[in-house]
């Protein structure tokens, strides 16, 4: 190997290591007692392992992660399934049907994609109270679905446009209805794109914090991301507990990412607003 090539390899791997170093810190702090890492987790004198941090955050008195995980799952799964169904129907309509106000609707969708959730927070909470959706899981599920729709609809629309229409035309000539065509032909073809939507929407809702903070108030409904700031506290921070709760929260999206990276990256690229 040439010398310059060796240098590139060294630089590249150094960047990778620097980039995950803070996460290694989190891992180390979560599996060691706090008194060992209080002066830095990179000191290995008297190294010992413990699962106590995990047990403590699992049964945390104010923000138990055991509860938080269940709550997150009970919100993320319906929000993902709903998004897939509604976005693939809508994306298909955008790709194949002609209708009035298509251009303006498209523009509105792009605006929502670019909008900060904070911009709608105030009237949204008033509205949720009026609809009786405040502090309910259904309310948060519907909001997550709505805010996942713009990019997932556009992503699926772009996918459907890239698929030749002949198969659908043939089925229509045979007398199949639009819905049958969609169910029997279009949706099965779209499986890889749907998988990307599923992964991204799952990770996005799992990681989401702001809407949860806005809508879920009672402690028995808090999702995992709401538990972390509470475990951290404001003044005295037990880094081992914080790290253990971070590990538990991160591990779900990380496993999905590692197993299905190809689809994740495709979704991220397809879901970005093109310049």
């Amino acid at each position: 190997m040439k010398k310059s090539k060796v240098a590139i390899y060294i630089v590249a791997w150094s960047i990778g290591i620097v980039w995950i170093l803070p996460f290694i810190g989190v891992l180390m702090s979560s599996i060691r007692p706090f008194r060992q890492i209080v002066d830095g987790w990179w000191h290995f004198a008297g190294f010992s392992l413990t699962v106590e941090n995990f047990i403590k955050v699992w049964n945390h008195p104010t923000a138990p992660l055991s509860k938080g995980l269940l709550n997150s799952i009970s919100i993320v799964i319906p929000a993902t399934v709903l998004t897939i169904i509604i976005a693939s129907l809508g994306g298909y309509a955008f790709a194949r049907f002609k209708f009035r106000f298509k251009g303006s609707l498209f523009f509105i969708i792009i605006i929502i994609m670019a909008m900060s959730p904070q911009a709608v927070a105030i009237p949204l909470t008033f509205e949720m109270m009026r609809l009786g959706l405040m502090n309910t899981r259904i309310g948060l599920i519907l909001v997550h679905t709505t805010w996942g729709l713009p990019w997932s609809m556009l992503f699926l629309r772009n996918f459907f446009i890239s698929v030749p229409e002949e198969l659908e035309e043939a089925a229509r000539i045979d007398g199949a209805s639009d819905l049958t065509v969609f169910r029997k032909i279009v949706f099965p073809i779209a499986r890889p794109a749907v998988l990307s939507v599923m992964i991204l929407q799952f990770i996005w809702t799992w990681n989401e914090f702001f809407f949860a903070l806005l809508i879920l108030h009672s402690p028995d409904k808090w999702v995992v991301t709401q538990c972390i700031p509470l475990i951290k506290g404001r003044y005295y921070i037990d880094w081992s507990l914080v790290s253990a709760s971070s590990m538990i929260t991160m591990i779900v999206p990380l496993i999905i990412f590692i197993c299905l990276q190809k689809y994740y990256i495709r979704g991220v690229m397809g879901g970005a607003i093109k310049g």
Binding site: G40, G90, I112, M115, Q118, E208, F209, T225, A272, G275
Partner: protein, 295 residues
Amino acid sequence: MKRTRILFLLPALILLIVFAVYPTVETIRMSFWSWEGRQMLGFTGLSNYTDLFARKDFINMERFPTSGPPYGALINSLIWMVIYLPMVVILGLVFAVLLRDVKGSFIIKSMILIGMVVPMVVGGVVVRFMYDNSAGIINGLLRFVGLGNFTRTWTAFPDTALPSLILGSIWFRVGFAMIIYSAGLELIPEELNEAAKLDGASSWKIFWRITVPMLKPCTLTVVIMSTIEVCRMFDMVYTATFGGPGGSSMVLGLLLYLKAFFRVPPDIGVATAMATFLALIAAIIAYFSVRRTEQ
């Protein structure tokens, strides 16, 4: 359009209107009314906006730029953008080019992408941890290289809190720019580089004359998405510093939230004016990106 075909769009339309379009329109309307707590009083025109720009926690021109922070959330968010955008573009591009020909680069890319995948709430915690005076690795490194005098909890001081968070967010989110540029690099035809090489162009020249111009659409995507990202910055600040100390790391989203939901009584008029400001930024971004795709 056939009647049944409306059914394809209807669920999406209903949700978007109820939980996104209506609240946006309502935010704008609310910002032109005066408020007492959660009571709407009467139409006041632009007075919430003049109020907003008079608030020191929104924009503090008395301190900026001559004295130290806090400068107010608007200036903080602008500083965030001014540092974040070029850094993400440059680092993303450099990483993508550097990793193009490295074997096993997908492992390194995954390492860099972790920050994209995990919650920003965790990001805030990790950033705070990194900067911690005793337990944080950054101060550990400073001690290691003999700069022990400079160690401190970087997020706890007004003059370093915001820059620390900005660097943290870049570390966390640069993976996005990297994968966009990596994908863009694969679209540049190999012949183009070969031809330039045959003409005797140096790799430096190839980079500036071919790679960078060919990647212009990617750069635009990265800039647009990063602008949105900075406007949305909330979770990380919430967990790392809560906007502190003394508002020195306050950003638009968090200030809005505090004014509307934390303060007693809530300051709805000013908060909705801020929200309208954020919505306007979104509309501008949307306008330019739609116009660009149409061209």
